[in-house]
Subunit: 213 residues, 4 copies
């Protein structure tokens, strides 16, 4: 339904890339901001407010946690997207579609987050949440895999260790989410906590990769 | 209510075009991200969650499908918008209004999607959904038709076959949606599946048009 | 709570102006797209859908109308904003605040629209809707009035008739909305229709102003 | 989960900074626009509308006030963000994360605003609202503190008094919010009004700081 993009000059090319980034940043910003809509103000009868509000707000803590968790993971993905597109200098239709499928998953994330808010103790929900995040990251890894083999799309000559680091991290994050799915079959709580370890693991990994250069 | 735009220089012109694209990309990004709000977390009494949640989530599959369908179609339209504005170098008030009417339809799409979610088996709903998507694409085709005849607005001299491809695709997509409306009078399910064929048809058409050059 | 902005160079100045436009376009895009959330899918018992859905959708027509009306008026305001900022070359704190107050009103517009959807036959609601739109436009006129007298902020030397046109239109639109408030005391329906006349009046006014140059 | 950003040139650097600003402005714009969703159209039985609507709308006035209050404070923060990033010329991973944590708080603000709408007379709610706004501003101050000591990240040589003004204002705003929390233990109403004084105080402070140069 689009149309051919041939015969464009480099300046148009840059404007064209900027629009892909503008759409992506828009979807990221809205997905991040919609997360807060999952946290609803508790409804309490007027004469019981003073008594029951503190407890009702405390009961919201899993929603605050999942807000922070989803926000931080989406920021992780945004940083990865930012890093990958920092190397991209041109695009083709396949790249636009891979990026769009990634955005389809990013825009979907408020749903598994809301599900986790409501039924965070259910193994099925933990599997759906981890599965959604793993799929999202895999699609971004696919974007990376697609451009890294095409020198006319990305500046891949910059530094071999940078390339290796991109490659390792592209597969480690989805792998850890998939491992957390396996863990959830034994303990749902352990699976949820494994996501926090994931954040730490990523920072450690980053430091090791940097030191190894 | 606006104001005349005369006496501007080319650099302002570029900033001016960028604002039209910024507003358009914003509307696209939000329409894409609002689609997920149609998928609501099922409400289940606490003691029945483990038992009923899997079934309740499975029952959501038409909502997941219509999320993906609407997302993909809006991305199709974004790519077409992207291609058309890649050729546009200047704008006038008519172009702004045609683009705004197109955006009015894009911003409206979450409603027919929600309708399809709820009453996807009703012929009327299928007609409204296909009709909304056809109208939206027709307005974009109108943008294309308007600029393609005005050399001071668009770089139309690039390549005659590119122009022809734009022209063919501008009318094929709304046509297929209108055909699906006709189909819906015989079978609602067949009409819904015809939209999936549309996606395939578009890819084939694109490939044929490219080969023919 | 902000901070001084002194000692900046012109390139930073341009980036700075771009951020004001980015925030403004973001607020415009979201206000436009939130309007559709006012149109809710009717809830109908499963066995009555085929029978009652057509009627229920027809009953939504005032919501479709107010969606289109608010969308078109916000686009009008966006075009005016676009025209005014096309002449602005620098900014100060007062300009940022006037623009922010204008955005506060733009972001508020989904509320009077929702009110009109629900209680469009009430004179009070018509007054609130027209009053909100008049106030919004007056704040934009204030932006224009502020920069038009400050040559270091706006390129006002371009064309005296352009300036006059800006000035006339800045006050005509809020005036017509205020007149519609007066009309509403006699007939609510007449007041609503007067807004449609407003759109036509604006086009005519634009044409006359152009011819008179 | 991101990836190393080494080996980039300055033009990429500028595009990279622009994306951080695009994401930030997107989150700001959406947080600002979501605030209006807290103001719900009152539901009134059809035969009582004419009678009860004026009262029902008047009862909404605390929601209008908190809409304006939150909108103005978020604009204050946006202006501060705008001023700080006007001096920033490069970024590293720590800056991205500090900015992201700040955005996490900005995107969260619609929740304490909704809470204030519903239970504005509760001391706990006033503490949560003031605490959220203080934390948000402190994170922005942290961004400032981080870049102001790193000449390769920010142009801090511009003007010593500008630097001092940034520094004073960075800590004054959260301080005042923290004081309002103390006040709330004596009078909830006084605490709420102290926020309005805050706005005035900020303007006075700005004027004094400017005069002292």
């Amino acid at each position: 339904m689009g149309g051919p993009r041939e015969g464009r000059r480099t300046e148009d090319n840059s404007r064209s890339l900027n629009r892909i980034l503008a759409l992506s940043d828009g979807v990221f910003a809205i997905a991040l901001t919609l997360l807060v809509l999952n946290i609803e103000v508790p409804e309490i009868p007027e004469d019981l407010v003073a008594e029951e509000l503190p407890g009702a707000l405390l009961d919201l803590w899993p929603k605050f946690l999942s807000y922070i968790l989803s926000f931080v993971v989406i920021i992780f993905y945004w940083i990865a997207h930012h890093s990958i597109f920092g190397l991209i200098k041109d695009h083709d239709r396949v790249l636009i579609w891979l990026n769009s499928l990634f955005l389809l998953c990013v825009a979907f994330l408020p749903f598994p987050t809301a599900l986790l808010d409501e039924y965070g103790d259910q193994q099925l929900v933990v599997v759906i949440y981890a599965g959604s995040l793993a799929t999202t990251r895999l699609l971004l890894s696919l974007v990376w895999w697609y451009v890294s083999g095409r020198p006319h799309l990305a500046n891949i000559d910059t530094d071999p260790s940078t390339m290796r680091a991109f490659g390792i991290r592209a597969w480690v994050v989805p792998l850890i989410f998939l491992v957390s799915i396996a863990i959830s079959f034994f303990s749902v709580t352990a699976a949820v906590y494994s996501w926090l370890l994931l954040v730490i693991a990523d920072f450690v990994l980053l430091r090791v990769l940097r030191r190894s250069r």
